[in-house]
């Protein structure tokens, strides 16, 4: 059993709203430098930079979970995590088939860059990644679970793009593994206000970083697991057999 620091919600420069400094290589390099053991790459409705992060991480001893921040039909965000790039690629196919078909306006929303593991430009994603898929939340979660992944309701405390705000409450049979509290919501978390609304669902705290400063300074989780797999993460959330999941953790040395 090992205790590790992990951040499961990080955007690369493929997300239109993320800074150009958020290359896959740069993220895993800083993770290693600041002692973050595991990260998840979660771009909006896209995954083209996940493989570069997995590749780059091999040189830094950082674990990368291939993931995505999915926007479901209800206009809420769901962080999904997988063990392998193959699983993520299969999920991306479903996402591709359910996109709006709109083109991105880079001047209005920001550019969407695909890069390799050494920061070299590969392509610009032209489809509009922001915006809801045609898939409802229930179907997103059910499909991701069936493919061996896990689903976390993103930033449920925020007024927009939150499953909790869109749906009023989170049905217990939705299949969510956890609910994420945004960095801004951690004060409320301490007051336990959100606990009731979450209906007993465990909460996690990730940086949701769109720039390096928020990755370094943002909240993380201290998890105790046997290994870094999706199955172990689920067991940690359930506190099975000595495993644990402690949200609301920050880096000790946060100067960046």
């Amino acid at each position: 059993m090992k205790t590790l620091l992990a951040d499961f919600h990080i955007h690369t420069l493929l997300s239109p709203c993320a800074e150009i400094e958020m290359t896959p290589h740069h993220i895993v390099m800083r993770a290693a430098q600041y002692g973050v053991d595991a990260v998840a790459i979660t771009d909006h409705n896209a995954s083209a930079n996940a493989a570069a992060a997995v590749e780059a991480a091999k040189n830094y001893g950082v674990k990368v979970f291939p993931g995505m921040e999915v926007e479901c039909r209800e206009e809420a965000h769901i962080v999904v995590l997988f063990d392998t790039l193959e699983q993520l690629a299969a999920w991306q196919k479903i996402v591709d088939a359910n996109m709006s078909g709109l083109k991105n306006n880079a001047e209005r929303f920001g550019a969407q860059f695909i890069v390799d593991d050494d920061d070299n430009f590969i392509a610009e994603e032209e489809r509009m990644l922001l915006g809801p898929l045609k898939l409802p939340a229930a179907e997103v979660i059910q499909k991701v679970n069936a493919m061996g992944g896990m689903a976390i309701a993103a930033h449920v405390d925020r007024p927009s793009y939150s499953l909790l705000m869109q749906l009023g409450f989170l049905p217990s049979d939705m299949g969510l593994a956890a609910a994420e509290i945004s960095p801004a919501g951690i004060r409320e978390l301490k007051e336990q206000k959100l606990k009731l609304a979450l209906g007993g669902l465990n909460y996690v705290t990730d940086s949701d970083a769109h720039m390096m400063d928020s990755f370094i300074n943002g909240p993380k989780n201290l998890i105790t697991v046997k290994s870094l797999t999706v199955a172990e993460l689920k067991l940690a959330l359930a506190a099975e057999d000595g495993r644990s999941w402690q949200p609301g953790c920050f880096l000790e040395n946060r100067d960046y």
Binding site: R73, E74, E75, P136, A137, A138, L164, M165, Q166, L167, G168, F169, P171
Partner: protein, 114 residues
Amino acid sequence: MQIKEVINSLNLQLLTHTGDMQGEVTGGYASDLLSNVMGQAEPGMVWITMQGHQNVAAVASLIGLAAVVVAGGAPVEEETLKKADANNINIAVTDLPAYVVAGQLYALGITNGK
């Protein structure tokens, strides 16, 4: 005005089978944020939304709404209709945009009820 008269006047398509059609409509509310509807809508109101998630039926039941109108041709999930029928909730759909539905309700004399 009774629910069935509202549904007929606006030419809405009723998708559920067990709801009360004789109840008086007390007002209307429009929102796609269910958290907001839970705090603002009142019993007997017609709720206009574009959400089709099963929580729509739960919120309507919780508040005691007269009917839910899913506007703009938005899809309603099967589970939502099942839940609505189990809780005697009326759910009707229309291709009309939410704005037009609200305007037509006002024209029938159904305001926000407050």
